[in-house]
Symmetry: C2
Subunit: 930 residues, 2 copies
């Protein structure tokens, strides 16, 4: 009993392949593959619990762990007929990390464990290949040195020197003697750096390697990765360690090692995709050091093995029902599967493979919907190079991760990170990108490398992040010292702007215009499945007929927010709006308003028509008056210019006389001056300048009068509407007349009127009385019956608190989470983002910028309360959200979970929200918010 | 059955004296007195429901009402042996309004109903007093004309003319013939104004009078009164009407009419207090027309009646167990009680009578506590004339309502109202103040009249409002036309400032300094009773040792809010604070901070000592940086002055030469100019001006850098603390060292550290780490153990939403309802109060200013949720409030109801809060907030 409670080690034959939390992703899949009967080298998993215990006990191995390991080792020894540390027939093992969430290339692996000065000789004898044996040994020494002992750099220089001595860059040119010497040198490095010898005892090696793997769970790279991908302890806690019998892809030309996807992770094509290296060991393929071969070449090189690989591909897909990314090694023609995991793919590939696998009955529609990360869809909508510009690429590499991006060239990870954090757009340009550079390219728009392959770790991560990546660009030559590069025939300095297109691997000088990609058919299919499942509606925020049209083409089910202030702000309208503001009497104000009304009516008609048959919620004017006026500084500058002008004119009067005295040669300029003066005098006779000065003075007075200490909390929205009833009356009139005219023309219009900044039912009543009165008069005038909905924005905290009262009159609520976030945090958005939010994010005081990512814990809790209160009064109250955060999948899921009716987001996020809404429905039982 | 559902009329013998809502206050008490066996003229009440029905039915008498009235009239006829409209023995009645809440003098009364051209003759015969009969008739005609027919003014001129003709001002000089003629004239007025005759039918008179009374419920005066006293429909809805047999105080010199309090309403003295007029009818006494006599004179004039009055006084107090304000009439030596109600009193009298009545076992301590309106206590704390100034009064009248006030003399109600609303302090100066002037003196600081008595309606209202009132000031002579007056020997113009002291009736020229009144013993007793009952603590907001001392003397149980920014703002500190802000390096900043630290420490020590043994919550710096800097405009002005100075100096260099040429007589000024220039040059050699300009330029740059768009939502509070850790570190250091030093001196100190503007637990953790570290070092340095509490302000909505999390670390919460109100409403206080709040209040969109009166429905609901969330984590979490609204009794009750631990308010509101806290405890079962 006590034993089962402390079981830390599971043989691949017994481990539960479903329990990734305990066994890690890699370990679980090794168990799964073993139990499927695939050819997996014998081995066992040390659980994540052991790792947590290790930390719990102050970085000490949990009691009994080594005993369990030895027991399992005995089983492996029995299976393989070899023995760990046996100087005759030694068992060699690999030690590989693997947590519950894949973190490719992030943590450290040690190969060839079990070799020492004795067993290496046995290996040489057994394989009859001394070079191979010592190559394996020096690899162990290097990996062990780096991973378990923390020695860096020196191993590489020794290897380089050895190759240089032979005047080659090809490792295979090194002889057995070279490898033997290198091994000795490596041991010397270890001795000199650690003051102890390389441990000859295999179990000492094993224990140290396991500890090192445990330790790398808390290393900077792993921590960075978890933060970037939001991997929290409840998703993955601790790493498992896989101990696996070594098989060797470097046993000669009938051996190889490779990585492959069961389908193409960039395009989704249903064909084995991958690369391999003949006579090489694992890390060589993924580490971008030697350029590997396309997997299709293996069909000719080892036809039988290729056939087995194809069988493996189908077996894996049939079993895991998802595209697999797997590693294999061929040791003397025998194929081994070393690991498999769900493949990371571009959005394109993800969508296509999901569609295909549904058609192949490998997965259901629901599963397909859950498999696509809505955030990835954004890639499909991301811009691509605009080919119509005729821009010519300066060079071409391999398309590692699709999408186009422009930015300043940076050669250095740290500088790229710095510039990126400072808000600059950066393209990281490197010879090879290592996964340890990861924190550098979080901050860049895209990556360009001279080496590397589509299957490299960097490409995998870049695709997942949707970062454009061009790799293997041979015409890129970097001079790090000078901080310059040649790209094709062009020279670039650090800081120059280039554009890359990761879809086809092209590189351009300067910024190249981009276009939005078209909707791919597979995505449309997926989104239609999604719409069938989702119960949460998806609307769009749109202020113009063009945006409305676009939103509709993206599948928006209506407009959840049409802002009228943008119409006021239009340059052609602004003078009239200012007339309205500066009016000295209600009559003057009405005159200006009368000019605005037909314009607004046309605005509304066009939007209504674009959304025919779908609801359109128009928000009455929200912004404070002063936003329609110039700033105090602007008017003051204009005024002082005008006054200076007066003085200058006066001075000019004297000028001709002065010129005459000064120098007769100036005489000829005098007529010109006089003509100018006469023209000016004519204008002045009409007092144009005086009037202008008076106007500007009035303007200045008004600007000062409407100035506010905290404008975001000021005289705006319904407060302004109640103070200047003519404005709202005009807007309501324009809306209802637009509807009436369209109804007369037989259109199907679904108007909604939405009141901003409401804090009490009384305000809503006030506007409602106005709406009712105007509706009566419009109905009478046009002799049509107008069906419209009347609702309120919920963006003031008090509106949340009084939601039960507001719901007495409001037919719908729409959360304005921009303002609501501001009020909930008492953060002024601009001030916060300029002053302290970066510091807050850095210090982990706030994880996200709540103006970008909905703050579910605070604002969300308030929203939940509000929905509950509102529905208490009106059971089927329509509730939506129209803040900027609303297109984010997490926000969509939250809105579904609290029973909202719809989200309304910017048009290009509509597809994302549609998919997220379907996922929310499918996952609703697991969505828990407190 | 149908009848009981529609019963609109109750005889005094049957009405339920407890049901004031139905019968009105006056009607219910008439029933009560009748049923007690007191001598009340027979009559009945028409219910408030009848009034509501009247409005419901578009101002028509409810069906069946007149029938019920006639039925009850028959009962009264039977009791009195007289008959309504009987030309032989006519029954006369009064028609008096009276709602559930007393509105003294606000609504209209009609007397002597039932008189007409016939019955007046019968009355003359029966009383053998023709003058009396026609006096009664002309009174009916006048009152009916004014109240039921809306005729104003002319009646008074006819009376005046009649008196003038006799060369008298005394009405009693008018003969029967005069009265007869006046009656005829009055009827003619009615005919000419309404084109119909005065109705001779008594029931027509009655129905019209009842309708008029119903109508006056919605009149301007009544509406103003209800608004001013916050009388809402759930407190009083509609007026009842009392129909009561007339008794006559004007039946000769053995008759009189009077009003009295069972105890002195100004001082609380336990002695009959009131006034009467011999041979006069009701309204004469209260209307301030004839100056009435002190009630004690009646002891000699009618000893038997006086004895009966004393009995009545005791009977009323024993029954109602509260000081009564009653009306009586003596008709030919027979005493009748005409109405009674709970007496309105000055705060002094209220407190004293409550104490006395507890001692007399007429009420319990609990009842005494509930009887005093906490808001009234403010009067006791209001200033009185500072006698030490030796200011001499210019005249002396009667103290109508205690308290001292200064303001501009205004003779006109409308102008007083206008000036008052514009924010000026006004003393309304009138010959006589009518209750219809009420809206004029809402706006004034105090009232001064040449006529009138302590018992007048105006005095009653003034006392209730706590407005100083000096009446009966015979040395006041007003010339309204000229808008001047003589006060004693002094002439004053409208707009001149005077000071009045309503405690003793004195009037002073100009503003006279005032002192705060001393705590009266009775109030202390009451407050001690209150403290014994209350469970809600009362703390004070205090930033200085003086305020702390004062708060303590007012009974504060500690300091709930000590703001540290006020210490920063002190003129002597500001330069150092600016040094800190302008520092160009952390080192420079630290240097400035090091100067501030000992100063802050001394601040804290002094406050801690003042509050020895009681908790003191110190709030770390809250205000945004820019509040410690001059404004951009200020610095720009200074800079341009400095630059102009430079130019002027240069110009001065040329001056002596120019002077010499211009006029030799100017020569003598040249040495002076040169000396000045030399002095300036010396300073300039040290570059003082250049340095100053550079400093100002740096200052300007900083001012611009810290400027914020919405400073209330900006870089302040804990956000600032986290951005500039040195500042909070200094403050925490100063607090803890102050405590440590005091502990060493054996003081009992209870420090609390409070963090402002918190929105997430992470912020609190950040500060807590700082506090812990500093505490460790201080503890080590002083070798003392410091027990302190660590808590958070709750003034950001997100803090409310995360209260459960915050309570994990915070030992107490303190609601900052100023900021919280701002965030809940999204109202910037200054902007709202200047721009739209007045409009909102006027239009009833918001009833109150939420920055003055806690918004229980919105902010309150949020607070309730917060307390619940916080207590979920920490069952006994200490929760308080320190916003400005917290001293208001309604806020105190609310805080008690939601289970808060304490309120913290400004020192002078502490007694109010103590009393309110006790009331809240006593009423807790009735306090319902949703």
């Amino acid at each position: 009993m006590a034993k089962s409670a402390h079981k830390y080690v599971y043989n691949f034959k017994e481990g539960d392949g479903k329990n990734k939390r305990l066994l890690g992703c890699k370990g679980a899949n090794l168990c799964e593959m073993t139990q499927m009967g695939l050819s997996v080298p014998p081995g066992f998993v040390i659980t994540t619990e052991a790792c947590l215990q290790y930390y719990e006990q102050g970085k000490n191995m949990p009691a009994g762990l080594m005993d369990e390991i030895k027991k399992e080792m005995a089983v492996v020894e029995k299976t393989t007929g070899k023995s760990f540390g046996d100087p005759k027939n030694p068992l060699l093992v690999s030690v590989r990390p693997g947590g519950a969430m894949p973190m490719p290339g992030i943590m450290d692996t040690v190969l060839n464990l079990g070799l020492n000065d004795e067993t290496v000789k046995a290996l040489a004898t057994l394989t009859n290949n001394e070079r191979f044996a010592y190559d394996a040994y020096r690899r162990l020494l290097q990996l062990f040195g780096q991973v378990a002992l923390g020695i860096d750099g020196e191993f590489d220089s020794i290897m380089s020197a050895a190759k240089q001595a032979l005047n080659t860059t090809d490792e295979t040119k090194l002889t057995a003697a070279d490898m033997k010497r290198i091994s000795e040198d490596f041991k010397a490095v270890i001795q000199s750096q650690t003051k102890t010898d390389f441990p000859q005892d295999p179990y000492t090696q094993l224990e140290m390697a396991i500890k090192a793997v445990f330790g790398s769970w808390m290393g900077k790279r792993a921590a960075d990765h978890r933060r970037e991908f939001n991997i929290t302890p409840d998703m993955a806690n601790g790493t498992a360690v896989n101990i696996c019998t070594m098989v060797f892809g470097n046993m000669g030309n009938d051996s190889c090692t490779g990585v492959a996807f069961t389908r193409n992770p960039a395009t989704g094509e249903n064909r084995l995709f991958g690369t391999y290296l003949t006579n090489a060991q694992g890390k060589d393929v993924v580490a971008s050091i030697r350029t590997p071969k396309e997997i299709q070449k293996l069909r000719r090189e080892m036809p039988k093995v290729y056939k087995e690989l194809e069988d493996l591909r189908h077996a894996l897909e049939n079993h895991f029902r998802e595209v697999q990314d797997f590693e294999f090694t061929v040791e003397k023609k025998k194929l081994y599967a070393l690991q498999t995991r769900n493949g990371k793919m571009s959005a394109w590939a993800r969508v296509k493979t999901c569609n295909d696998m549904v058609n192949e009955a490998l997965m259901t529609e629901d599963e397909a919907i859950l498999r696509v990360d809505p955030k990835q869809l954004e890639q499909l909508l991301h811009p691509a190079i605009d080919k119509s510009t005729g821009a010519k690429p300066v060079c071409k590499g391999i398309g590692g991760s699709p999408g186009a991006a422009s930015g300043k060239v940076m050669f250095d990870v740290d500088r790229a990170e710095q510039a990126g954090k400072a808000g600059e757009k950066v393209i990281l340009v490197r010879d090879e990108a290592k996964s340890s550079d990861i924190y550098g390219f979080f901050a860049s728009q895209g990556i360009l490398t001279s080496r590397g392959e589509k299957t490299s770790q960097v490409a995998v991560v870049a695709r997942e992040m949707g970062k454009p990546y061009v790799c293997g660009c041979k015409d890129l030559v970097i001079d790090f010292r000078a901080r310059t590069a040649k790209i094709g025939k062009q020279s670039v300095q650090e800081g120059d702007i280039i554009t890359i297109d990761g879809a086809n691997g092209t590189v351009y000088m300067d910024t190249v215009p981009t276009v939005e990609s078209e909707f791919v058919g597979d995505m449309l299919t997926l989104l239609h499945w999604a719409d069938d499942i989702a119960t949460l509606g998806v609307m769009a925020n749109a202020d113009t007929p063009e945006m409305a049209q676009k939103a509709r083409s993206y599948g928006a089910q209506g407009i959840g927010l049409c802002r009228t202030e943008r119409m006021f702000n239009h340059p052609s309208r602004l003078p009239v709006v200012r007339e309205m503001i500066l009016a000295n009497s209600p009559k003057e104000r009405q005159a200006a308003i009368d000019k605005l009304m037909p314009l607004q009516k046309e605005d509304f008609k066009a939007i209504f028509q674009a959304m025919e048959g779908l609801p359109v919620a128009i928000r009455l004017l929200d912004r404070p008056i002063h936003e329609f006026l110039p700033t105090q500084e602007e008017v003051m500058t204009e005024l002082s210019l005008l006054k200076e002008f007066e003085e200058t004119i006066n001075a000019m009067e004297e000028l001709p006389e002065a010129m005459r005295i000064l120098d007769p040669s100036l005489q000829k300029f005098i007529p010109g001056i006089k003509t100018t003066l006469e023209a000016i005098h004519k204008i002045r006779e009409q007092n144009v300048d005086k009037k202008l000065i008076r106007y500007k003075e009035e303007l200045l007075a008004k600007v000062k009068a409407v100035a506010e200490i905290n404008p975001m909390l000021g005289h705006r929205g319904v407060r302004l509407g109640i103070s200047y009833p003519e404005i709202y009356a005009m807007q309501i009139h324009a809306i209802l007349e637009a509807v009436a005219e369209l109804i007369q023309e037989d259109h199907d219009i679904k108007p909604e009127i939405m009141v901003p900044q409401v804090c009490t039912l009384q305000e809503l009543k006030w506007v409602h009385r106005l709406v009712t009165a105007i509706n009566d008069s419009v109905t009478k005038k046009y002799k049509v019956n107008i069906a419209f909905k009347f609702g309120t924005m919920i963006e003031v905290v008090r509106a949340c608190m009084r939601a039960d009262k507001l719901a007495e009159l409001a037919e719908f609520f729409s959360f304005g989470t921009n303002d609501l976030t501001q009020a909930t945090f008492s953060f002024s958005r601009e001030d916060a983002e300029n002053k302290f939010l970066p510091l807050y994010n850095e210090n982990k005081i706030l994880h996200d910028n709540p103006f970008e990512i909905l703050d579910i814990h605070g604002v969300g809790r308030l929203m939940k309360m509000t929905v509950e209160l509102g529905r208490k009064t009106k059971k089927d109250l329509k509730v939506g959200i129209c803040g900027e955060q609303s297109g984010h999948p997490d926000a969509v899921k939250f809105c579904h979970a609290i029973g909202m009716t719809y989200v309304s987001c910017s048009p290009h996020r509509v597809p994302i929200a549609r998919l997220a809404a379907a996922q929310a429905k499918l996952l609703e039982k697991t969505l828990k918010y407190d």
